[in-house]
């Protein structure tokens, strides 16, 4: 159901209108199942959600939501929806040690945090809970700010499965890239 939810969010929310690395499964599912699934959305979505790890209410505190505050520069399938979590990879995959980073504001304490988006690698695409947001994202030549790249380059296998969003530390300065 989260796929359908994603699609309708895509119509109304700016974030989900963006091109992504791998958003096709969510779009396809949405289109094919159509309106019949709409009434089920809140129930299904609630079942998908875990308790907020950061003590924030609503979508901004929900790691299965594209609006989760750590997701401001993510591009990929959310590992929370794939058997892992926002900070852990699903079974049988490996967390890539090299990553791209974003700087996201925590709505609870108002501070900016450096977020590391570690891809989980070694199995094929998860295909669930796609999220693509590009705050401060930069082209391929500025690679550590680029979320198009397959970041499984540092893992044993380069097949991409899903993406996590790890807090690195509080950012001392505001992110220059907008």
């Amino acid at each position: 159901m989260s796929r359908l939810d994603n699609w309708f969010e895509g119509i109304t929310r700016e974030s989900a209108r963006r091109v992504s690395r791998r958003s096709w499964v969510s779009r396809l599912g949405a289109v094919l199942v159509g309106g019949a699934a709409v009434p089920l959305l809140p129930v299904a979505r609630a079942a998908e959600r875990a308790a907020s790890p950061d003590g924030i209410a609503g979508a901004e505190g929900d790691p299965s939501s594209c609006q989760y505050w750590r997701h401001c520069a993510i591009d990929g399938f959310l590992c929370t929806c794939c058997g892992g979590s926002h900070s852990a990879c699903p079974p049988g995959t490996e967390m890539s040690p090299v990553t791209w980073i974003g700087t996201c504001r925590n709505p609870k304490d108002g501070q900016d945090y450096i977020i590391s988006y570690n891809d989980c690698c070694g199995k094929t695409i998860c295909g669930r809970c796609l999220c693509n947001r590009n705050e401060g994202e930069r082209p391929l030549y500025h690679w550590y700010r680029n979320n198009d790249l397959n970041w499984c380059g540092g893992a044993k296998l380069q097949t991409y499965n899903c993406s996590t969003a790890l807090v690195v530390k509080v950012a001392k300065e505001a992110q220059p890239e907008k």
């Binding site: 091109v19 690395r21 096709w24 499964v25 396809l28 391929l140 030549y141 690679w143 397959n150 380059g153």
Partner: protein, 411 residues
């Protein structure tokens, strides 16, 4: 009277028998098993490759006929890379990544060589297992002019470029290109790249395809304030790139070092004030014979550089004037039409177009003939719109092209 009727009846029956005799005899002849089609010798001016991330293959379509012509496979990357077509050798080259046990095992990267008529694999060249892989697939691989050398961007995430001699079918070497990305051909032995310090580099090869030297431009953009997108389009020995904010940069790679021209704005002050921006995936394309430049545009703020748009604007790159605004067709409808058994052009088709939101397009490409077509694609909707690139008229849709992807490649 009675005899007359009797005499007429045999004639009438005979006429009926004669009339229907050919039909009765024309049974469908048995087919010969094992037949396989092949592509025509000449590459059509309106053909387009449509790589697909979900189906892991790249299909070839004839945009004028609206027909699929065939496909080539791809392996375990996020997106298939752009196929390269040698007209001289009638070969197609596909850079691909495989694992020895399917989804796992040892990674191996190859340039697979296809016969351009039969689409059968007829050879391969193994290259370092570092070929870059991105969600868009843009500027990761290209064939240099003269069709001898193929260049492949490696990014793991350190950047280098593999060079392959296509005529000799051998890997030549790997050139270190730290801090730079994208490969932009500009001659038989040269290609450009964009770099994170706001410059471009020119990589020049010897006649044998080895590194001769790398030269660098002066800085011409600010990667923090207004970065130049790597989603460029070729104009002879130059490449055109737009910044996120719509500054159009032309980089000439024909000399000893890359020469960036002074940029010009795709948007007027008023348009910029109204937040018009370029954006999407492969959003910029240039028609070399006419000098027309096309870009997907949208209204958005910082961070919207991957947003699709429902309009394509057209500029005369010579006069730098905006000359056309094309409205993009709703490609959601041709995507779902075949799934629902809806006929194109019918009432339900019309109704869906009226009711369903137009999600816009992420990618465009214009053919290079004198009656050009503009192909348009949304990254997550498996249909390609076909427009007259001069008038902007929506001519037709290519249905069931796949499920997802950004690239559109004119061979």
């Amino acid at each position: 009277m009675t005899s007359g009727v009797t005499a007429w009846r045999p004639t009438w029956l005979l006429a009926l028998l004669v009339a229907f005799a050919p039909t009765a005899q024309a049974e469908v002849a048995p087919d010969d098993p094992g037949q396989v089609t092949s592509l025509p010798e000449a590459v059509g001016p309106h053909w387009v490759w449509v790589p697909d991330r979900a189906l892991r293959r790249t299909a070839l379509f004839d945009g004028a006929a609206g027909a699929m012509l065939g496909l080539i496979d791809s392996g375990m990357t996020i997106t298939p890379k752009a196929p390269q077509w040698s007209k001289q050798r009638a070969e197609i080259y596909a850079v691909d990544t495989i694992y020895t046990r399917g989804h796992h095992g040892e990674r191996k990267d190859y340039v697979f060589i296809y016969d351009a008529r039969t689409l059968e694999v007829k050879g391969e060249v193994e290259i370092p297992p570092r070929a870059g892989d991105t969600g868009t697939g843009i500027a990761l691989v290209d064939m240099l002019d003269g069709e001898r050398f193929l260049v492949v961007l490696n990014q793991s995430p350190g950047s280098s470029v593999s060079v392959v001699d296509l005529a000799e079918r051998k890997f030549i070497g790997e050139i270190q290109t730290a801090g730079c990305a994208g490969v932009y051909p500009a001659g038989p032995q040269r290609f450009g790249m964009l770099c994170g310090n706001g410059t471009a580099v020119l990589v020049m090869l010897t006649e044998q395809g080895e590194l001769e030297r790398i030269t660098r431009s002066t800085p011409f953009f600010d990667v923090v304030a207004d970065p130049v997108s790597e989603k460029g389009t070729r104009k002879g020995t130059s490449w055109l790139f737009s910044s996120f904010g719509g500054q159009l940069h032309e980089i000439d790679f024909s000399g000893a070092a890359p020469v960036p021209a002074a940029p010009w704005s795709l948007f007027s002050d008023k348009e910029r004030a109204n937040d018009w921006r370029v954006g999407g995936g492969q959003y910029l394309t240039y028609h070399r014979p006419s000098g027309r430049l096309y870009s997907i545009v949208h209204e958005g703020g910082p961070g919207s550089h991957k947003d699709p748009g429902t309009e394509v604007w057209v500029w005369d790159a010579g006069t730098r004037e905006k000359i056309e605004t094309f409205s993009m067709p709703n490609v959601l409808v041709p995507f779902i039409r075949p799934q629902m058994g809806i006929e194109a052009g019918g009432f339900v088709d019309w109704l869906l177009r009226a009711l369903l939101p137009n999600l816009g397009v992420h990618s465009i490409v214009v053919t290079q003939d004198d009656q050009p077509l503009l192909f348009v694609r949304h990254a997550d909707l498996g249909a390609v719109g076909v427009l007259d690139a001069v008038s902007g008229e929506h001519l037709r849709d290519l249905e069931e092209v796949g499920l997802s992807g950004v690239l559109l490649v004119v061979p």
